[in-house]
Amino acid sequence: MATRQQQQNAPLAPGTRAPDFRLHDTPDQTVAPSDFRGRPLILAFYPADWSPVCSDQMVLYQQVMPEFQKYDAQLLGISVDGVWCHLAFAKHRNIHFPLLADFEPKGDVSRAYEAYRRQDGVSERALFVLDRDGMIYWSYLSPVGVNPGADGILRALDAMARKVAS
């Protein structure tokens, strides 16, 4: 029997063009990575609104938001939950960045980023940092039960800023 670790995917690798998509973050509004072209973009795929680890992770990112903004970076959370679920979750936890619903067809975007857990029917806990041109600069797959924190994202943003400056 395959172990949990072996069942994990390898997410789309650095140097790959990030697949574009358009998903709802509210019932009447959609968001696409290309909306933020020219700025670093952080994509945080996560398994489920309300789960303890996801809650801690998204709350942490909200708290770290001023740091992300220093890099002019935009953060998008993505799970297979629907928009109404996202809205209730965001309101309850004071989350103010967009949470996108990879809801229909379910998990399509997560699959495109190789960040979908087929056995569970939810997104992996995967992080991507995209550069200003929409190329994947850094990606990370966290064990599903572990909150990856924000240090990896900040390192990637640091390294990217240095590259742009040099």
């Binding site: 709350v59 942490l60 004071n94 990606s139 797959l141 572990v146 924190g149 240090d151």
Partner: protein, 181 residues
């Protein structure tokens, strides 16, 4: 497979004078907590850290840094500022203990009552809180935690390396003892 792996290590070294340290400065083991006074798990961890310190005696120095998650804990920031304001009057640890032992009472009137109970200069304490004198240091603590891989509270580091195992008394004490060997 992880495309990038790293060991979570403390990025901001412990600096006497800047950091709050309980125990001998030259103790062979350092246990550092990133904590939030309004976080119930930190409240559970507090007596555990106290007993670990008692057990280890002079072998351990305990360091506390702030990691207030105000997104979900509206009183966490002001409580952290109260601890720092007490610290400015050499009563950091007394306030720290009071805050963790009374987590349901972190609103401004209770913070002032704590300050009075500790015999602090109330005018100075109130002024520190009102002008958010210690806000920058608390933010520096928080960011040092974020950069060091803190992903929630409480997060512990033993000799600069993040302690990823559980923090129940037996596990934490064993980990600290192993670091002393």
């Amino acid at each position: 497979m992880n495309l990038t792996t790293w060991e979570a290590r403390l990025t901001l070294p412990i600096i006497p004078g800047r950091d709050h340290i309980r125990g001998p400065l030259d103790a062979p083991v350092t246990l550092l907590e990133y904590g939030d006074y309004e976080c119930p798990y930190c409240g559970l961890a507090h007596p555990i850290t106290r007993v670990v310190q008692q057990e280890m005696g002079d072998m351990l120095r305990f360091v506390f840094r702030h990691f207030p998650v105000t997104t979900v804990h509206p009183y966490a920031e002001l409580a952290a500022e109260a601890a720092e304001a007490a610290g400015a009057q050499r009563k950091f640890w007394a306030m720290h203990d009071l805050l963790y032992e009374n987590q349901q009472q972190l609103d401004p009137p209770h913070l002032l009552a704590n300050a009075e109970a500790l015999g602090l200069d109330i005018k100075r304490f109130g002024s520190d809180l009102g002008r958010h004198v210690h806000e920058a240091k608390i933010r520096e603590d928080f960011l040092s935690g974020v950069r060091s891989g803190v992903n929630g509270t409480p997060s512990f580091f033993i000799n600069d390396v993040r302690h990823d195992a559980p923090w129940d008394f037996a596990t934490l004490l064993t980990a600290v003892k192993q670091a002393a060997m």
